[in-house]
């Protein structure tokens, strides 16, 4: 049986691949809870200017040459980019509902929010608690 690729080499989500062509060339893109950075890498390779946020500095370090990296605790600290606007905000495999206002506010006029997350049934099956959270393996 073929083993899965390492997380940093995992392919981007089909959803992200499908819709990011709507972005203008060189768009400012925010990858929220970027994890191993599969989307940050893919977006940077497509010529976009990527800002990647994650709480894990070890995961961000390899992205330093590809993206602006921001280490932040999105669930326990303040929004790390107040006043910053992006042509797109990309979120996959992550859901923290109290963050919604900040995510929406980070989208520039005319910009896109591209979101892919697990449904509640999945969260329940993993024993994750509360109405606000649903996060999977790092992206």
């Amino acid at each position: 049986m073929e083993s899965p690729p390492p997380p940093h080499a995992a392919p981007p989500s089909d959803w992200i691949v499908r819709w990011t062509p709507l972005l203008p060339p060189g768009a400012r893109v925010l990858d929220v809870a970027c994890g191993h950075g599969r989307h940050a890498r893919w977006l940077a390779a497509a010529g976009h200017r990527v800002t990647a946020i994650d709480r894990d500095a070890d995961l961000l370090a390899p992205l330093a040459g590809l993206a602006e990296t921001v280490q932040a605790d999105l669930e326990g600290g303040p929004w790390p980019l107040p006043g910053r606007r992006f042509d797109a905000v990309v979120v996959t495999n992550y859901l923290w509902r109290p963050l919604f206002p900040a995510l929406l506010d980070a989208v520039a006029p005319g910009g896109l929010l591209i979101y892919e997350t697990f449904a509640q049934a999945h969260a329940a099956s993993e024993g994750r608690a509360g109405p606000n959270s649903c996060s999977g393996r790092a992206s």
Partner: protein, 64 residues
């Protein structure tokens, strides 16, 4: 489902948002198992914030 809909107790927290939003695409579905990841239910959305001209290529995607 409605995972992406914020519960009432979170509405109004954080920075104020403004502008109209248009859903470009929305899907619910299942991702097949891959490697050590089990099959997963997912919700997906693409939404564009108002305030600037958008691409004419955008179409509302059919579910699924």
């Amino acid at each position: 489902m409605d995972v992406l809909r914020a519960p009432a107790d979170t509405v109004g927290q954080g920075p104020a948002t403004s502008g109209e939003w248009r859903v470009v695409a929305f899907e619910e579905g299942r991702l097949p198992a891959r490697g050590d990841s089990p099959e997963r239910e997912v919700q997906r959305i693409v939404a564009r914030r108002g305030g600037a001209a958008s691409s004419g290529a955008e179409l509302l995607a059919s579910p699924g």
